[in-house]
């Protein structure tokens, strides 16, 4: 297939008219400034209820303990809310911060913004790591973080203009709410001329987020080759829902043109040197390793299928004969090749692939020609394989509408797969879904769910509440066996699973369920290390991995980094290290230390990096406890992620499970019925998970109930009185 990658439906022709309808509610002046060694040392605070705008100092204590990014977000949220606060209370906040290293243009993957809010689906803090230019451009306008509280009466936008030193809150009634159009309109509206387009970035959500709890945010950048606004998503945990609840239509930043030294680093040459080394590594080895530059994360589809790890039919199975229809070679052709696809300058990994020339088949944009940002692996696995839809065009359609409606593709994929299985098992039927036939593979029905979410009607609105609430609703309505509903609803703490099978990897069961914000792959991905290579056999080994990797990865979110260039490319001699060390990619860890030192001027060792993360990680655990969800009972996975729930599942991998009965439990499978064998597995696997929890809690310095001890808080320098007060009642 060949597509003209500059051809698409335009939405920005009437921006002058749209702008005329704006009403300025508040104008505020500031002195634009560049960061010094990565920090501007101030935060922009906006209250949408009172229209107050002010700047707050970023204190030395904040930098020392919380570093930036997710750390700043959690700290501000901690101060803003009470234990009783609900996601839709005006005091809930959305905080965006790129971290001190964010905006660096030399090291691949340095442009991330971290978004923190109280999540509608989990009721605890959520943090989401997103590309696009917003965070860096905001920093280069003068702010390390943006803290938004309150609620507007009508749809408003916040405009941060770092070229002239103004912040505005404006009513903006006429622009689209849906992101693909809104981002384009606001980008063209606030750019002075054509060359200025890339100095504008927009944050928007969509109509879906108004009626669903699984709403996401889109962060834009202007792609100078395609001449298009592109989007990256802060997907997890429903921050888009909070955004629309605050009546935010968009955030717009307009910054001075970017140069390579705008963080005003302590040692620019040091940073440039490691950056160039990484570009060279990607130039030489990406094609032989992950092929991210051509296929993005979609290169994983058939790999996961080969290892029986691709979620199929709501995580019942791990592969499917039709996977080839959505495999990497399809995307290799479907993505426009040969043009830079980084979500920030200098990302030579450039996984942000674009499928140009998609002709929309359904809904309000039917017939429009759009560029679909993705699909990434998670979207392909969740919206396609997990729902039994093996059609690349329908996958593009679902991806497009999820993004533009402001719906998280991961939560949507898992939620859609859940209702399809409920339909398969008679928990749902046509009557209960309002006429939708939610059979496996029914792409049109999947799209209709999305359109219903956006219109705020029908069964789509129920699906949009997420898996945790659907479980409650279906059980309350006595739709089916409550235990079965609980077992197959793939969520922990209210967050839907991301798209990997964890049944055969105990470490990954913990990697999902023993997370701060709920099951996602942002904290730990240990399946190969554990299941495929058997490098962490004992409980202690697994606990060590579940200590190190979540902390290591937390560091990306404190500093504004992307995880991918850490280990989706490796130095060719990485195997010289013993396997467990090799998994850490030591040379790249050293790169991060060097970039940190080069920018901030603060020395950093590999151990110091972990310690830096642990302060924030432990703090977040305490924050969860403060909000009523950070203890042992909240770390339990649904059984579907641990072992075979149903007979079909057991029978589909009978050989494996029978063998395990013999080897693990010393039981002759011939003497047992299928149901007995399922029960034996369940007992064994659930016990094993409990033992893993014990080992992990010990390693993390928590009590048996999962509460950080005072010694742990002290060791991590986070024994502030208000933090200690939260854990005290649980330590008696």
């Amino acid at each position: 297939m060949s597509h003209d990658y500059t051809k698409r439906t335009a939405y920005h022709e009437k921006v002058a008219e749209l702008r005329k309808a704006h009403k300025v509610l508040k104008e505020w002046s500031f002195t634009p400034s560049l960061p010094e060694r990565g920090y501007t040392n101030r935060t922009l605070f906006v209250n949408l209820t009172t229209l107050e705008i002010k700047e707050k100092p970023v204190t030395e204590q904040m930098k020392d303990l919380f570093v930036g990014g997710r750390g700043f977000g959690l700290w501000y949220l901690w101060q803003a809310i009470k234990p009783t606060t609900k996601w839709n209370d005006p005091e809930n906040e959305i905080i965006i911060s790129p971290g001190p290293l964010g905006g660096n243009t030399q090291y691949p993957g340095s442009g991330k913004s971290l978004v923190v809010s109280l999540s509608p689906t989990t009721g605890i803090p959520i943090d989401s790591n997103v590309g696009g230019y917003f965070g860096p451009l905001m920093k280069f306008s003068g702010f390390d973080a943006l803290e938004i509280t309150g609620k507007a009466r009508n749809d408003v936008i916040i405009v941060i203009d770092g070229q002239i030193g103004k912040v505005y809150i404006e009513e903006a009634p006429q622009e689209d709410v849906n992101s693909h159009a809104a981002a384009e309109q606001f980008t063209h509206m606030y750019a002075k001329d054509h060359d200025d387009l890339r100095n504008v970035s927009v944050v928007a959500s969509g109509r879906g987020a108004e009626h669903a709890l699984i709403g996401c945010l889109n962060f834009s950048w202007f792609d100078v080759r395609r001449q298009a606004t592109r989007l990256k998503q802060a997907g997890r945990g429903g921050i888009g829902t909070v955004f629309r609840d605050k009546k935010l239509k968009a955030l717009v930043v307009h910054a001075p043109p970017v140069k390579g030294d705008m963080n005003r680093p302590a040692d620019f040459d040091k940073v440039a040197k490691v950056g160039i080394k990484m570009h060279k590594e990607l130039a030489d080895f990406d094609l032989k390793q992950c092929n991210m530059r051509r296929q993005g994360t979609a290169h994983l589809v058939e790999i996961m299928d080969n290892y029986d790890l691709l979620p199929v039919h709501n995580f019942q199975y791990g592969n499917h004969p039709d996977t080839k229809k959505i495999a990497s070679w399809i995307w290799d052709k479907r993505f426009t090749q040969g043009i830079p696809d980084g979500c920030w300058y200098g990302c030579s990994m450039q996984c942000s692939k674009g499928a140009d020339g998609h002709v929309v088949k359904t809904g309000p944009y039917k017939g429009h020609i759009v560029t679909v940002d993705g699909p990434e692996y998670e979207t392909a696995a969740g919206c396609a394989a997990n729902c039994g839809i093996f059609d690349p065009d329908w996958l593009l359609e679902a991806n497009f509408y999820c993004d533009t409606y402001g719906i998280d593709t991961i939560s949507f994929g898992t939620a859609c797969a859940f209702v399809m299985e409920c339909y398969q098992r008679g928990i749902l039927n046509k009557e209960r879904t309002g006429g939708l036939e939610l059979t496996w593979g029914n792409a049109e029905a999947q799209l209709e769910l999305l359109h219903q979410m956006a219109r705020g009607e029908g069964f789509g609105v129920i699906v949009g509440q997420g898996v945790a609430r659907m479980k409650q609703i279906f059980i309350e309505k006595k739709y089916g066996d409550p235990q079965l509903i609980k077992d197959i609803g793939m969520e922990v703490k209210g967050l839907e699973y991301s798209q990997y099978q964890s049944k055969e990897s105990l470490a990954q069961q913990g990697g999902y369920a023993l997370t701060n914000k709920g099951p996602q792959h942002d904290e730990a991905w240990l399946i190969f290390m554990d299941m495929v290579n058997n490098q962490i056999p004992s409980f202690e080994d697994k606990a060590e991995a579940l200590y190190y990797f979540p902390l290591f990865r937390t560091w990306f979110g404190l500093n504004g980094f992307c995880k991918l260039p850490w280990n989706d490319i490796e130095p060719p001699d990485n195997h010289k290290y013993p396997p467990l060390e090799a998994a850490k990619v030591p040379e790249h860890v050293q790169n991060y230390c060097d970039v940190f030192t080069g920018i901030t001027g603060r020395p950093l060792t590999k151990e110091g990096l972990i310690a830096m993360s642990e302060t924030v990680y432990q703090f977040q655990r305490v924050f969860n406890i403060r909000m009523g969800k950070g203890r042992r009972e909240h770390d339990l996975p649904p059984y579907r992620s641990v072992g075979p729930v149903t007979r079909e599942e057991y029978e589909s991998r009978q050989e494996r499970y029978d063998k395990q009965l013999k080897e693990w439990m010393g039981i002759d499978p011939a003497t047992k019925t299928i149901d007995e064998k399922i029960a034996l597995h369940r007992k064994y696997r659930e016990d094993r998970y409990q033992k893993l929890m014990d080992a992990v809690y010990k390693r993390r310095g928590w009590t048996a109930d999962g509460v950080p001890t005072l010694e742990t808080l002290k060791r991590c320098r986070i024994d502030l009185p208000e933090v200690v007060e939260v854990v005290k009642p649980y330590l008696k």
């Binding site: 243009t105 040459d269 950056g275 130039a283 300058y345």
Partner: protein, 134 residues
Amino acid sequence: MRYVKADAAKCEGVRACEKICAQTFFKSEDPNLSAIRVTKKGSAYEINVCNQCGQCIAVCPVKALSRNQAGIVMVDKKTCVGCFMCIGFCPTLSMRRAPGQREPFKCVSCGQCVKKCPKGALQMVEADHAGLPA
């Protein structure tokens, strides 16, 4: 398009090329500021200089690299965001960065080095850039 073609066998390490290049563009004789580089390999020399192939043009995220009318690949410093991807992706490793500089620099086929080489190791040749990245 014209580019500097090196015949390393004739090179005796005089480095007049490096000096004149650095002088012309940076008013310095520091070889780190030269677009053409001579390295000693055992008893012989290697000469590294851009052949104007243009592979870097496609790598640049902001279109700061382009061919001028004569077909020479030029860096537009005003547009450049200093990512240095062009350096990592140059197939001949001929895109340069000097310490302290926030943008890269490269050979612009001015021919000064060709004139200065006392050994005749350098010559300016013409090639067709049709079919090469533009």
